[in-house]
């Protein structure tokens, strides 16, 4: 489709551009990513949970497990647990702070801390991005550094060839800023390989979630416990292992399913 385009324009690029523009941008972006990961780790190191907080989240986890596996426990213990957890959730037995209000308190130290951590993370993520971008577009302006192996629509010409004032140059020859963008998107995979999947090296995709402030989570568990109380209240028991003998015999081929049907009739 675009085969002729690749043959039509051949430029000879100075190898020095490779050593002084192409590689430096990639190396700097890689190192800045690792630096940012380490800075974020240092800034968010002092987050420890109190006993009450662990208790309330474990209670939610237990309730979910109970609802999911309700059919695999005998009916008597099911009723016991149902009553117990309904009371516990309703009375807020495992809540860290049963009287937490919806808005919380903005001046509460714990609240301030979480807000500040979110802001720190957002800044640690965004500032290097802007600095790097302006560094690349200012310092390496005007280089044709690379040829893309694929064809792009012409309307990207403005974006990918910024700083190159050649009207008729093929779209696949691009400037240093677009190599910056390729690195920004492409290095995310490398970071997840080196630093683990939950890294904060800041590839393009986790800029957006960090822009929003952390919501006020003061009464999140109070609401969760209330809703779990409702769920536990309406949950019904039906013993899953009623015809387990037949199921196992059928599974291992000792009994054909047809026989089973006849017996049921």
């Amino acid at each position: 489709m675009a085969g002729s385009m690749y043959e039509s324009q051949d430029l000879y690029l100075d190898p020095s551009i490779k050593y002084w523009v192409l590689f430096p941008i990639m190396i700097v972006m890689f190192l800045v990513g690792i630096l940012r990961h380490n800075i974020t780790t240092i800034l968010s190191v002092n987050q420890s949970l109190s006993t009450g907080e662990v208790k309330e989240s474990l209670a939610v986890k237990y309730g979910r497990l109970f609802i999911a596996n309700k059919n695999y426990i005998p009916e008597s213990t099911f009723k016991l647990r149902k009553n117990y957890w309904y009371d516990a959730y309703n009375s807020g037995k495992y809540l860290n702070d049963p009287n937490a209000t919806a808005n919380g308190d903005m001046l509460d130290p714990a609240n301030m801390e979480s807000t500040m951590t979110g802001m720190k993370k957002a800044f640690a993520n965004l500032i290097p991005q802007y600095v790097l971008m302006s560094w690349v577009s200012y310092f390496f302006a005007g280089f044709v550094i690379i040829k893309l192996p694929f064809y792009l629509p012409t309307r990207f010409k403005e974006m990918f060839q910024r700083g190159i004032d050649t009207q008729n140059l093929d779209i696949s020859w691009v400037s240093s800023l677009s190599w910056y963008f390729f690195n920004l998107f492409g290095l995310g995979g490398i970071f997840s390989l080196i630093l683990g999947s939950n890294n904060s090296a800041g590839s393009a995709k986790d800029i957006a979630p960090q822009m929003q402030m952390a919501p006020n989570q003061k009464d999140r568990f109070n609401k969760l416990h209330k809703s779990l109380a409702e769920e536990v209240k309406i949950v019904e028991h039906s013993w899953a292992l009623d015809d387990i003998e037949d199921q196992i015999l059928i599974k291992y081929g000792k009994k054909s399913p047809v026989n089973n049907d006849k017996k049921n009739k």
């Binding site: 489709m1 675009a2 085969g3 690749y6 000879y12 690029l13 190898p15 551009i17 490779k18 192409l22 990639m26 979910r64 497990l65 999911a68 596996n69 550094i145 690379i146 040829k147 893309l148 192996p149 694929f150 064809y151 390729f182 690195n183 998107f185 492409g186 290095l187 995310g188 995979g189 490398i190 997840s192 390989l193 683990g196 999947s197 590839s203 995709k205 899953a240 199921q247 059928i250 599974k251």
Partner: protein, 109 residues
């Protein structure tokens, strides 16, 4: 027997499943890295490079299935995790190294 298995896999080990996902993701990233280099060195351009990535994904998918002895529900939380994973960063990683390999071999002599 399939119907008797509940849709939510609460009984499977979540930690092991996450580790499986991470391993599969690491394999996919490595594949897109070296596959990108290979595509660039071979000088693939345009659609043929994208088709090459598709073939690469299918091969990786097949080998992960082979390792899981074709019982992926035992190890993964659905076929999507085995097949694509984090497609966005995989493909962009591939495109970056494709571009790099192509530039190093075919643009700078």
């Amino acid at each position: 027997m399939e119907s008797s298995i509940p849709s939510k896999f609460e009984k499977l080990n979540v930690v092991s499943m996450m580790e499986n996902n991470q391993t599969a993701q690491a394999i996919r990233i490595l594949a897109s890295l070296f596959g990108g280099f290979a595509a660039g060195i071979m000088g693939l351009t345009g659609w043929s490079g994208i088709i090459f990535y598709g073939i690469l994904s299918v091969v990786i998918f097949f080998f992960i299935l082979l390792k899981a002895k074709f019982q992926y529900t035992k190890y993964f939380n659905g076929i999507k995790d085995v097949l694509v994973g984090d497609l966005f960063s995989n493909f962009l990683c591939y495109v970056m190294f494709w571009t790099l390999g192509y530039a190093l071999v075919h643009v700078y002599e």
